[in-house]
Amino acid sequence: MELIKDGKRLDGRAPDELRPIKIEAGPLSRADGSCYLEWGGNKVMAAVYGPKEAVPRHIQDSSKAVINAKYNMAAFSVDDRKRPGPDRRSREISKIASEALENVILTEMFPRAMIDVCIEVLDAEAGTRCAGITAAAVALADAGIPMRDIPVACAAGKVDGVVVLDLVGEEDKKGDADLPVAIAPRNEDILLLQMDGHMTPAEFDEALELALKGCREISELQKEALLKKYKTTEGE
Protein backbone atom coordinates (compact mmCIF):
# COMPACT_ATOMS: atom_id res chain seq x y z
CA MET A 1 0.00 0.00 0.00
CA GLU A 2 1.23 3.48 -0.84
CA LEU A 3 1.25 5.76 2.16
CA ILE A 4 2.12 8.88 0.18
CA LYS A 5 0.60 9.60 -3.22
CA ASP A 6 1.33 12.74 -5.30
CA GLY A 7 2.83 14.46 -2.25
CA LYS A 8 -0.38 13.91 -0.22
CA ARG A 9 -0.78 11.56 2.71
CA LEU A 10 -3.55 9.03 3.42
CA ASP A 11 -5.81 11.67 4.94
CA GLY A 12 -4.95 14.27 2.30
CA ARG A 13 -2.49 16.27 4.41
CA ALA A 14 0.80 17.71 3.19
CA PRO A 15 3.90 16.14 4.81
CA ASP A 16 4.36 19.11 7.18
CA GLU A 17 0.71 19.56 8.12
CA LEU A 18 -0.86 18.85 11.55
CA ARG A 19 -4.18 17.16 12.13
CA PRO A 20 -6.94 19.55 13.29
CA ILE A 21 -6.65 20.31 17.02
CA LYS A 22 -9.26 21.57 19.48
CA ILE A 23 -8.36 22.43 23.09
CA GLU A 24 -10.74 23.34 25.90
CA ALA A 25 -9.47 24.45 29.32
CA GLY A 26 -11.37 23.65 32.50
CA PRO A 27 -14.30 21.42 31.42
CA LEU A 28 -14.35 19.50 34.72
CA SER A 29 -15.71 21.28 37.79
CA ARG A 30 -14.51 18.89 40.51
CA ALA A 31 -10.84 18.70 39.49
CA ASP A 32 -8.53 21.57 40.47
CA GLY A 33 -7.63 21.96 36.80
CA SER A 34 -8.62 20.14 33.64
CA CYS A 35 -8.35 20.09 29.87
CA TYR A 36 -10.14 18.33 27.03
CA LEU A 37 -8.23 17.91 23.80
CA GLU A 38 -9.20 16.61 20.38
CA TRP A 39 -6.29 16.00 18.03
CA GLY A 40 -7.42 14.40 14.79
CA GLY A 41 -9.03 11.16 15.97
CA ASN A 42 -7.55 11.38 19.47
CA LYS A 43 -9.78 12.42 22.33
CA VAL A 44 -7.95 13.03 25.60
CA MET A 45 -9.13 14.32 28.98
CA ALA A 46 -6.57 15.50 31.54
CA ALA A 47 -7.29 16.41 35.17
CA VAL A 48 -5.00 17.84 37.86
CA TYR A 49 -5.41 17.50 41.63
CA GLY A 50 -3.27 19.26 44.19
CA PRO A 51 -0.76 20.19 45.38
CA LYS A 52 -1.79 18.09 48.36
CA GLU A 53 0.05 16.12 51.02
CA ALA A 54 1.83 13.18 49.38
CA VAL A 55 0.58 9.72 50.31
CA PRO A 56 1.92 7.11 50.96
CA ARG A 57 4.37 8.98 53.14
CA HIS A 58 7.53 7.30 51.88
CA ILE A 59 7.18 8.98 48.47
CA GLN A 60 7.38 12.44 50.09
CA ASP A 61 10.39 14.56 49.23
CA SER A 62 11.25 17.20 51.85
CA SER A 63 12.77 19.49 49.22
CA LYS A 64 10.18 19.42 46.44
CA ALA A 65 6.79 18.22 45.25
CA VAL A 66 6.33 14.85 43.59
CA ILE A 67 4.62 14.86 40.19
CA ASN A 68 2.49 11.80 39.75
CA ALA A 69 1.15 11.52 36.22
CA LYS A 70 -1.07 8.59 35.35
CA TYR A 71 -1.73 7.74 31.73
CA ASN A 72 -4.65 5.42 31.08
CA MET A 73 -6.34 4.21 27.93
CA ALA A 74 -10.05 3.55 28.07
CA ALA A 75 -11.15 0.03 27.12
CA PHE A 76 -13.13 1.48 24.20
CA SER A 77 -10.34 3.73 22.90
CA VAL A 78 -8.95 1.25 20.35
CA ASP A 79 -10.40 -1.07 17.66
CA ASP A 80 -10.10 -4.28 19.66
CA ARG A 81 -11.16 -3.77 23.24
CA LYS A 82 -8.16 -2.86 25.37
CA ARG A 83 -7.81 -4.93 28.50
CA PRO A 84 -8.30 -2.36 31.26
CA GLY A 85 -5.65 -1.60 33.85
CA PRO A 86 -2.00 -0.64 33.83
CA ASP A 87 0.33 -2.38 31.40
CA ARG A 88 3.94 -1.99 30.28
CA ARG A 89 3.09 0.74 27.77
CA SER A 90 0.94 2.89 30.05
CA ARG A 91 3.50 2.66 32.86
CA GLU A 92 6.18 3.88 30.48
CA ILE A 93 4.09 6.82 29.28
CA SER A 94 3.12 7.72 32.87
CA LYS A 95 6.81 7.85 33.76
CA ILE A 96 7.96 9.92 30.79
CA ALA A 97 5.01 12.32 31.19
CA SER A 98 5.80 12.81 34.90
CA GLU A 99 9.42 13.56 34.09
CA ALA A 100 8.60 15.94 31.25
CA LEU A 101 6.17 17.92 33.43
CA GLU A 102 8.46 17.86 36.50
CA ASN A 103 11.02 19.91 34.61
CA VAL A 104 8.78 22.93 34.12
CA ILE A 105 6.84 22.93 37.41
CA LEU A 106 8.34 24.95 40.28
CA THR A 107 8.27 21.85 42.50
CA GLU A 108 10.51 23.37 45.19
CA MET A 109 7.61 25.63 46.23
CA PHE A 110 5.68 22.67 47.63
CA PRO A 111 7.92 20.39 49.73
CA ARG A 112 6.34 17.10 50.89
CA ALA A 113 3.44 17.61 48.48
CA MET A 114 2.20 15.69 45.48
CA ILE A 115 0.52 16.82 42.28
CA ASP A 116 -1.66 14.22 40.60
CA VAL A 117 -2.11 14.41 36.84
CA CYS A 118 -4.61 11.99 35.32
CA ILE A 119 -4.46 11.55 31.56
CA GLU A 120 -7.39 9.55 30.20
CA VAL A 121 -7.36 8.56 26.54
CA LEU A 122 -10.96 8.20 25.41
CA ASP A 123 -10.29 7.64 21.72
CA ALA A 124 -6.92 6.81 20.18
CA GLU A 125 -5.52 7.37 16.71
CA ALA A 126 -1.72 7.43 17.17
CA GLY A 127 0.18 10.14 19.01
CA THR A 128 -1.65 9.81 22.30
CA ARG A 129 1.46 10.39 24.40
CA CYS A 130 1.97 13.77 22.73
CA ALA A 131 -1.72 14.58 23.04
CA GLY A 132 -1.61 13.52 26.71
CA ILE A 133 1.35 15.74 27.62
CA THR A 134 -0.14 18.69 25.70
CA ALA A 135 -3.46 18.30 27.53
CA ALA A 136 -1.80 17.77 30.93
CA ALA A 137 0.16 21.00 30.48
CA VAL A 138 -3.02 23.03 29.92
CA ALA A 139 -4.70 21.33 32.90
CA LEU A 140 -1.72 22.21 35.14
CA ALA A 141 -1.86 25.87 34.14
CA ASP A 142 -5.64 25.84 34.71
CA ALA A 143 -5.05 24.43 38.21
CA GLY A 144 -2.86 27.43 39.05
CA ILE A 145 0.30 25.38 39.50
CA PRO A 146 3.42 27.60 39.26
CA MET A 147 5.36 26.67 36.13
CA ARG A 148 8.26 28.04 34.11
CA ASP A 149 6.47 27.38 30.86
CA ILE A 150 3.59 25.45 29.33
CA PRO A 151 5.10 22.30 27.82
CA VAL A 152 3.91 21.04 24.47
CA ALA A 153 4.48 17.80 22.56
CA CYS A 154 4.30 16.73 18.93
CA ALA A 155 5.61 13.82 16.87
CA ALA A 156 7.36 13.59 13.53
CA GLY A 157 8.40 10.48 11.62
CA LYS A 158 9.34 8.87 8.34
CA VAL A 159 6.81 7.29 6.00
CA ASP A 160 7.72 5.81 2.60
CA GLY A 161 11.10 7.53 2.83
CA VAL A 162 9.55 10.99 3.40
CA VAL A 163 9.90 12.88 6.68
CA VAL A 164 6.40 13.83 7.85
CA LEU A 165 4.79 15.66 10.77
CA ASP A 166 2.19 14.20 13.17
CA LEU A 167 1.71 10.56 12.13
CA VAL A 168 -1.76 9.10 11.85
CA GLY A 169 -2.65 5.47 12.80
CA GLU A 170 -1.71 3.70 9.54
CA GLU A 171 1.49 5.72 9.11
CA ASP A 172 2.55 4.82 12.63
CA LYS A 173 2.03 1.09 12.03
CA LYS A 174 3.43 0.82 8.49
CA GLY A 175 5.88 3.75 8.46
CA ASP A 176 9.63 3.65 8.98
CA ALA A 177 10.11 5.77 12.10
CA ASP A 178 8.30 7.73 14.82
CA LEU A 179 9.83 10.56 16.86
CA PRO A 180 7.74 12.09 19.66
CA VAL A 181 9.19 15.32 21.10
CA ALA A 182 8.08 17.46 24.04
CA ILE A 183 9.52 20.93 24.59
CA ALA A 184 9.22 24.00 26.78
CA PRO A 185 8.38 26.41 23.95
CA ARG A 186 9.82 29.61 25.43
CA ASN A 187 13.46 28.55 25.17
CA GLU A 188 12.86 25.29 23.31
CA ASP A 189 14.37 23.04 25.96
CA ILE A 190 13.68 19.41 25.10
CA LEU A 191 11.68 17.63 27.80
CA LEU A 192 11.09 14.35 25.99
CA LEU A 193 12.66 12.72 22.97
CA GLN A 194 11.92 9.15 21.96
CA MET A 195 12.36 7.34 18.70
CA ASP A 196 11.54 3.98 17.24
CA GLY A 197 12.37 2.83 13.71
CA HIS A 198 15.28 3.89 11.53
CA MET A 199 16.36 7.28 10.21
CA THR A 200 19.67 8.61 8.92
CA PRO A 201 21.23 11.45 10.96
CA ALA A 202 20.16 13.93 8.27
CA GLU A 203 16.59 12.67 8.36
CA PHE A 204 16.62 12.80 12.15
CA ASP A 205 17.62 16.48 12.10
CA GLU A 206 14.90 17.20 9.57
CA ALA A 207 12.30 15.30 11.64
CA LEU A 208 13.31 17.07 14.87
CA GLU A 209 13.04 20.47 13.19
CA LEU A 210 9.62 19.51 11.83
CA ALA A 211 8.44 18.32 15.27
CA LEU A 212 9.61 21.61 16.82
CA LYS A 213 7.63 23.51 14.20
CA GLY A 214 4.54 21.47 15.10
CA CYS A 215 5.11 22.15 18.81
CA ARG A 216 5.27 25.91 18.19
CA GLU A 217 1.93 25.81 16.36
CA ILE A 218 0.23 23.77 19.09
CA SER A 219 1.69 26.00 21.81
CA GLU A 220 -0.28 28.93 20.37
CA LEU A 221 -3.49 26.86 20.54
CA GLN A 222 -2.79 26.01 24.21
CA LYS A 223 -2.34 29.68 25.11
CA GLU A 224 -5.50 30.61 23.23
CA ALA A 225 -7.50 27.93 25.07
CA LEU A 226 -6.35 29.17 28.50
CA LEU A 227 -7.10 32.82 27.75
CA LYS A 228 -10.45 31.93 26.18
CA LYS A 229 -11.72 30.34 29.41
CA TYR A 230 -11.54 33.72 31.16
CA LYS A 231 -12.65 35.80 28.16
CA THR A 232 -15.99 33.99 27.77
CA THR A 233 -17.19 34.81 31.27
CA GLU A 234 -16.04 38.41 30.87
CA GLY A 235 -18.50 39.05 28.04
CA GLU A 236 -21.61 38.30 30.12
Binding site: D32, G33, G50, P51, K52, E53, S62, V104, L106, F110, P111, R112, A113, A141, D142, A143, G144, I145, P146, M147, R148, D149, I150, A184, P185, R186, K223, L226, L227, Y230, K231, T233, E234, E236
Partner: protein, 224 residues
Protein backbone atom coordinates in the same frame (compact mmCIF):
# COMPACT_ATOMS: atom_id res chain seq x y z
CA UNK B 1 0.43 48.93 33.75
CA UNK B 2 -2.97 47.75 32.65
CA UNK B 3 -4.48 44.63 34.21
CA UNK B 4 -3.86 41.76 31.85
CA UNK B 5 -4.52 38.03 32.03
CA UNK B 6 -1.20 36.19 31.77
CA UNK B 7 -0.20 32.53 31.55
CA UNK B 8 2.92 30.73 32.82
CA UNK B 9 5.99 31.82 30.86
CA UNK B 10 4.67 35.27 29.82
CA UNK B 11 7.40 37.92 29.82
CA UNK B 12 6.45 40.65 32.32
CA UNK B 13 9.50 42.92 32.32
CA UNK B 14 13.21 43.38 32.92
CA UNK B 15 15.00 43.42 36.27
CA UNK B 16 16.41 46.91 35.61
CA UNK B 17 12.92 48.43 35.34
CA UNK B 18 10.89 46.51 37.88
CA UNK B 19 11.27 44.14 40.82
CA UNK B 20 10.21 40.52 40.96
CA UNK B 21 7.02 40.09 42.99
CA UNK B 22 4.64 37.26 43.83
CA UNK B 23 3.69 34.67 41.21
CA UNK B 24 6.76 35.35 39.10
CA UNK B 25 10.23 33.93 38.50
CA UNK B 26 13.47 35.26 37.06
CA UNK B 27 15.68 33.99 34.31
CA UNK B 28 18.70 36.17 33.61
CA UNK B 29 17.40 39.74 33.31
CA UNK B 30 13.85 38.79 32.45
CA UNK B 31 10.89 38.43 34.79
CA UNK B 32 8.27 35.88 33.75
CA UNK B 33 4.87 34.92 35.12
CA UNK B 34 4.77 31.51 36.78
CA UNK B 35 1.00 31.22 37.05
CA UNK B 36 -2.28 31.80 35.27
CA UNK B 37 -3.46 35.11 36.69
CA UNK B 38 -3.76 38.86 36.38
CA UNK B 39 -0.51 40.84 36.12
CA UNK B 40 -0.20 44.17 37.91
CA UNK B 41 2.58 46.51 39.00
CA UNK B 42 2.55 47.84 42.54
CA UNK B 43 5.26 50.15 43.95
CA UNK B 44 7.87 48.82 41.55
CA UNK B 45 7.04 45.14 42.01
CA UNK B 46 5.48 43.05 39.26
CA UNK B 47 2.94 40.66 40.77
CA UNK B 48 0.70 38.02 39.29
CA UNK B 49 -2.55 37.58 41.21
CA UNK B 50 -3.54 33.96 40.64
CA UNK B 51 -6.96 33.09 39.20
CA UNK B 52 -6.85 29.54 40.56
CA UNK B 53 -4.85 27.32 42.87
CA UNK B 54 -4.73 26.02 46.43
CA UNK B 55 -4.52 28.14 49.58
CA UNK B 56 -0.99 29.20 50.46
CA UNK B 57 -0.94 29.90 54.21
CA UNK B 58 0.47 33.26 55.35
CA UNK B 59 1.25 34.04 59.01
CA UNK B 60 -1.54 36.10 60.57
CA UNK B 61 -4.31 34.95 58.22
CA UNK B 62 -7.65 34.18 59.84
CA UNK B 63 -8.86 30.90 58.39
CA UNK B 64 -11.67 28.42 58.96
CA UNK B 65 -10.48 24.88 59.60
CA UNK B 66 -12.00 21.46 60.10
CA UNK B 67 -10.60 19.19 62.83
CA UNK B 68 -9.08 16.10 61.20
CA UNK B 69 -7.62 14.32 64.17
CA UNK B 70 -7.34 14.76 67.94
CA UNK B 71 -4.13 13.46 69.56
CA UNK B 72 -3.08 13.67 73.23
CA UNK B 73 -1.63 17.18 73.16
CA UNK B 74 -2.80 18.69 69.89
CA UNK B 75 -5.24 18.61 67.00
CA UNK B 76 -4.59 18.39 63.28
CA UNK B 77 -6.69 20.89 61.35
CA UNK B 78 -7.52 20.91 57.64
CA UNK B 79 -7.21 24.52 56.47
CA UNK B 80 -7.44 23.74 52.73
CA UNK B 81 -3.66 24.09 52.35
CA UNK B 82 -1.63 21.23 50.84
CA UNK B 83 -0.65 20.27 54.38
CA UNK B 84 -2.65 19.85 57.62
CA UNK B 85 -2.01 22.44 60.36
CA UNK B 86 -1.23 21.70 64.01
CA UNK B 87 -3.21 23.28 66.83
CA UNK B 88 -1.48 22.77 70.21
CA UNK B 89 -3.37 22.68 73.51
CA UNK B 90 -1.41 25.78 74.67
CA UNK B 91 -2.98 27.71 71.82
CA UNK B 92 -6.64 27.19 72.74
CA UNK B 93 -8.67 29.33 75.17
CA UNK B 94 -9.53 26.35 77.40
CA UNK B 95 -7.52 24.40 79.98
CA UNK B 96 -7.15 20.97 78.41
CA UNK B 97 -5.91 18.00 80.46
CA UNK B 98 -3.46 15.60 78.80
CA UNK B 99 -5.37 13.21 76.55
CA UNK B 100 -8.69 15.03 76.86
CA UNK B 101 -8.45 17.00 73.63
CA UNK B 102 -11.46 15.34 72.02
CA UNK B 103 -13.72 16.58 74.85
CA UNK B 104 -13.22 20.11 73.50
CA UNK B 105 -12.87 19.63 69.75
CA UNK B 106 -13.92 16.47 67.95
CA UNK B 107 -13.10 15.26 64.45
CA UNK B 108 -15.26 17.04 61.90
CA UNK B 109 -15.92 20.11 64.03
CA UNK B 110 -15.25 23.53 62.56
CA UNK B 111 -13.05 26.24 64.10
CA UNK B 112 -11.93 29.76 63.29
CA UNK B 113 -8.15 29.94 63.77
CA UNK B 114 -5.18 32.20 63.04
CA UNK B 115 -2.10 31.01 61.17
CA UNK B 116 0.66 31.20 63.81
CA UNK B 117 3.69 30.02 61.85
CA UNK B 118 4.75 28.45 58.59
CA UNK B 119 8.32 27.17 58.30
CA UNK B 120 10.46 26.26 55.32
CA UNK B 121 9.37 22.63 55.38
CA UNK B 122 5.79 23.96 55.25
CA UNK B 123 4.91 22.78 58.75
CA UNK B 124 1.95 24.92 59.68
CA UNK B 125 0.82 25.87 63.19
CA UNK B 126 -2.44 27.61 64.01
CA UNK B 127 -3.69 29.32 67.14
CA UNK B 128 -7.04 30.17 68.74
CA UNK B 129 -5.64 32.92 70.98
CA UNK B 130 -7.48 35.82 69.38
CA UNK B 131 -10.92 37.26 70.07
CA UNK B 132 -12.45 36.24 66.73
CA UNK B 133 -11.22 32.63 67.08
CA UNK B 134 -13.92 30.22 68.19
CA UNK B 135 -15.68 26.97 67.55
CA UNK B 136 -18.33 27.21 64.82
CA UNK B 137 -21.55 25.76 66.23
CA UNK B 138 -24.29 27.24 64.03
CA UNK B 139 -24.73 28.82 60.61
CA UNK B 140 -23.50 27.54 57.26
CA UNK B 141 -20.02 27.16 55.76
CA UNK B 142 -19.72 28.12 52.06
CA UNK B 143 -16.63 26.99 50.18
CA UNK B 144 -15.10 29.03 47.35
CA UNK B 145 -11.75 28.98 45.58
CA UNK B 146 -9.14 30.61 47.85
CA UNK B 147 -7.93 32.79 44.96
CA UNK B 148 -11.36 34.45 44.79
CA UNK B 149 -11.43 35.56 48.47
CA UNK B 150 -10.16 39.14 47.83
CA UNK B 151 -13.08 39.74 45.46
CA UNK B 152 -15.65 38.61 48.03
CA UNK B 153 -14.13 41.10 50.50
CA UNK B 154 -13.82 43.88 47.91
CA UNK B 155 -11.82 47.12 48.15
CA UNK B 156 -11.73 48.14 51.83
CA UNK B 157 -14.43 45.56 52.50
CA UNK B 158 -16.92 47.17 50.09
CA UNK B 159 -18.27 43.87 48.74
CA UNK B 160 -18.75 42.20 52.11
CA UNK B 161 -20.54 45.24 53.57
CA UNK B 162 -22.80 45.27 50.50
CA UNK B 163 -23.64 41.62 51.13
CA UNK B 164 -24.33 42.34 54.81
CA UNK B 165 -26.59 45.30 54.00
CA UNK B 166 -28.76 43.48 51.49
CA UNK B 167 -29.17 40.18 53.33
CA UNK B 168 -28.81 41.12 56.99
CA UNK B 169 -26.65 38.04 57.46
CA UNK B 170 -23.59 37.77 59.68
CA UNK B 171 -20.55 36.93 57.56
CA UNK B 172 -17.03 35.78 58.43
CA UNK B 173 -14.59 35.22 55.56
CA UNK B 174 -11.66 32.88 56.11
CA UNK B 175 -8.61 33.66 53.93
CA UNK B 176 -8.57 30.00 52.87
CA UNK B 177 -11.86 30.17 50.98
CA UNK B 178 -14.29 29.00 53.66
CA UNK B 179 -17.01 31.52 54.49
CA UNK B 180 -19.12 31.27 57.64
CA UNK B 181 -22.59 32.83 57.37
CA UNK B 182 -25.50 33.15 59.81
CA UNK B 183 -28.97 34.57 59.23
CA UNK B 184 -32.54 33.81 58.12
CA UNK B 185 -32.80 30.74 55.84
CA UNK B 186 -34.22 32.58 52.79
CA UNK B 187 -31.65 35.37 53.11
CA UNK B 188 -28.85 32.85 53.39
CA UNK B 189 -29.99 31.20 50.13
CA UNK B 190 -29.70 34.56 48.35
CA UNK B 191 -26.33 35.20 49.98
CA UNK B 192 -24.93 31.83 48.88
CA UNK B 193 -26.07 32.51 45.30
CA UNK B 194 -24.41 35.93 45.43
CA UNK B 195 -21.14 34.48 46.75
CA UNK B 196 -21.15 31.82 44.02
CA UNK B 197 -21.78 34.55 41.43
CA UNK B 198 -18.81 36.56 42.73
CA UNK B 199 -16.65 33.43 42.55
CA UNK B 200 -17.68 32.76 38.95
CA UNK B 201 -17.15 36.32 37.74
CA UNK B 202 -14.19 37.20 39.95
CA UNK B 203 -11.95 38.34 37.09
CA UNK B 204 -14.46 40.80 35.58
CA UNK B 205 -14.70 44.54 36.19
CA UNK B 206 -17.61 46.41 37.76
CA UNK B 207 -18.41 43.41 39.93
CA UNK B 208 -19.74 45.39 42.91
CA UNK B 209 -22.40 47.05 40.73
CA UNK B 210 -23.40 43.70 39.22
CA UNK B 211 -23.79 42.10 42.64
CA UNK B 212 -25.68 45.13 43.97
CA UNK B 213 -28.19 44.76 41.11
CA UNK B 214 -28.36 40.98 41.59
CA UNK B 215 -29.13 41.33 45.31
CA UNK B 216 -31.76 44.00 44.62
CA UNK B 217 -33.54 41.80 42.07
CA UNK B 218 -33.37 38.70 44.25
CA UNK B 219 -34.79 40.53 47.28
CA UNK B 220 -37.67 41.86 45.18
CA UNK B 221 -38.54 38.52 43.60
CA UNK B 222 -38.68 36.87 47.01
CA UNK B 223 -41.43 39.38 47.94
CA UNK B 224 -39.52 41.70 50.21
Amino acid sequence: MERKIVIPGTLLGKTDGSKQGRGTFREGENIYSSRLGIAEEKSGYVNVIPLSGVYDPVVGDAVIGVIEEASKMSWMVDIMAPYPAMLRVEEVPWRVEFGETSRFLKTGEVVVVNVLSVNEAKNIEVSMRDKHCRKVEDGVIVKIQPSKVPRVIGKNGSMVSLLRQHTGCWIFIGQNGRIWIKGKDDKMTILIDAIKKIEKEAHTTGLTDKISKFLGDENKSKGD
